[in-house]
């Protein structure tokens, strides 16, 4: 008999597989980590919503047997804000690509963080616009190629974790599709917190970013992660030159400021008591 993993429990298996992602695309790996983290939560799946924008990564909800919402490009957090306010008890997970989250969706990102809105964000960061075929995203590293940056990207890139931190998230962490156990662990930890949380899941897009930047083989993308992402405490000790070529991962923020939803529910209480 063929075995099932915990992941398979949550897949809309009969309808939607194999999924549309390219061979070796890291998005599937992240989705797996996400599902294992949800499973660990032991919540009723009717009480889980998975919400996304538009992009390859944003196809995630399609495959999952929860309340799923595939919105418009960049706006997932705004939709999710409505869902969460209507259903304060629901675990509202928002998955977005890097372009979706901090490109077109950047304003919703910083405002959701500022409000400390109780949403659990997982950003699938492949440093490029995958779905549309490889244009530069706000996380494409300087100098790297994209179909709209054939001469090498002259823009600087956002550090998604730093943006989340500086605008007020309660929990911020980064892992990669290679570091799959850490990834699952961070996602799980974020689900256990209130307020706005962000896990940046670094991934690889062999088809666009890879093709343009000599990482065409799926394995090469994961090799890169394996060799260049190191834990924050170790990274901090690197020389400045080394810091240019290596990337830190780990947990960057872990605080417990009161989130918008809690504050609003308190407001209702106090208004209704007439004070």
């Amino acid at each position: 008999m063929i075995e099932q993993s915990v992941v398979h429990k949550y897949l809309r298996k009969n309808k939607k597989f194999p999924h549309i992602w390219c061979p070796g695309c890291g998005h599937g790996v992240i989705m797996g980590s996400l599902l294992r983290a949800i499973d660990k939560m032991g919540v009723d799946r009717n009480n889980v919503a998975v919400i996304s924008g538009i992009g390859c990564s944003s196809r995630t909800p399609t495959y999952l047997d929860f309340n799923t919402l595939h919105t418009t490009h960049g706006r997932a957090l705004a939709f999710a804000t409505g869902v969460k306010l209507a259903r304060p008890d629901m675990l509202v997970i928002v998955v977005m690509g890097d372009g979706d989250a901090v490109g077109i969706g950047g304003n919703h990102f910083i405002h959701a963080a500022r409000r400390n809105m109780d949403l659990k964000v997982v950003v699938y960061n492949n440093n490029i616009y995958g779905m549309t075929g490889g244009q530069a995203s706000p996380t494409t590293p300087s100098g790297k190629k994209a179909t709209t940056a054939r001469y090498g990207n002259i823009e600087r890139s956002f550090d998604i974790c730093d943006l989340a931190r500086s605008t007020g998230a309660n929990y911020v962490a980064r892992a990669t599709s290679y570091h799959v156990k850490q990834l699952e662990n961070y996602i799980y930890k974020s689900f256990n917190k209130k307020g706005f949380t962000v896990v940046e899941a670094v991934t690889h897009c062999p088809t666009t970013y890879g093709r343009l930047n000599s990482l065409k083989e799926p394995v090469a993308g994961m090799e890169f992660q394996k060799n260049n992402f190191i834990m924050k405490n170790l990274w901090d000790k690197l020389s400045d030159e080394e810091k240019q070529v290596k990337f830190p991962m780990g947990e960057f923020v872990d605080v417990d400021k009161e989130g918008f939803v809690t504050k609003y529910l308190n407001l209702i209480e106090s208004v209704r008591q007439g004070d």
């Binding site: 549309i20 992602w21 196809r59 779905m131 088809t207």
Partner: protein
């Protein structure tokens, strides 16, 4: 096969170079043979990694309706593409498949030619890269819609520098195959 409007569909998987193949066919006809030609291809996430197609219309007259309506030849380099795209082909039209990848042939088709493109590329040319050129060589010859000279010019103007000879050879090998397998 001598018609005013010839419609060709090339299908296979993403990496097999069939879009370029279609462009070369169309350029040969339009630029070097002075005919009219269009080329179009499948787009979109559904195509990702899976079956992909490239369509070429060649005509002596102005091409108005821009899509294929009566496909004359369908090339399938993979089983998946064959399963997906054969539906557009009338039963009596020409179906050309790769004998290595396409094992289960669609039913009731009366005009099927199975050619070992992949194996020839691998064995004779030592690279799968030329499979598209071999294939369009064969197709061009079978439809008779483009001249050999035009095909040659079109191939040379499109392939990467340094691979000209290789591809020219592959083209001619394809043309030869067409003659060999012609019914």
């Amino acid at each position: 096969m001598k018609k005013k409007r010839v419609e060709i569909r090339l299908s296979g998987s993403g990496g097999q170079g069939l879009i370029l193949g279609g462009v070369i066919l169309a350029e040969a006809a339009a630029i070097y043979d002075g005919k009219n030609a269009t080329q179009s291809q499948s787009y979109g996430p559904e195509a990702r990694g899976g079956a992909s197609k490239s369509e070429v219309i060649i005509s002596d007259e102005e091409i108005l309706f821009p899509k294929t309506e009566n496909i004359d030849v369908l090339l399938c380099l993979t089983q998946q593409s064959c399963d997906s795209y054969v539906c557009g082909l009338e039963k009596d039209r020409l179906l050309v498949v790769d004998s290595f990848y396409v094992k289960s042939l669609p039913k009731d088709y009366t005009n099927v030619i199975s050619i070992p493109f992949t194996e020839i590329a691998r064995d004779e040319f030592k690279t799968p890269m030329v499979v598209n050129i071999i294939a369009i060589g064969a197709i061009s010859e079978m439809t008779g819609s483009v001249s050999k000279q035009a095909m040659e010019k079109a191939v040379l103007s499109r392939v990467p520098k340094g691979t000209e000879e290789l591809n020219k050879k592959a083209l001619h090998r394809g043309i030869e195959l067409a003659k060999q397998y012609k019914k």
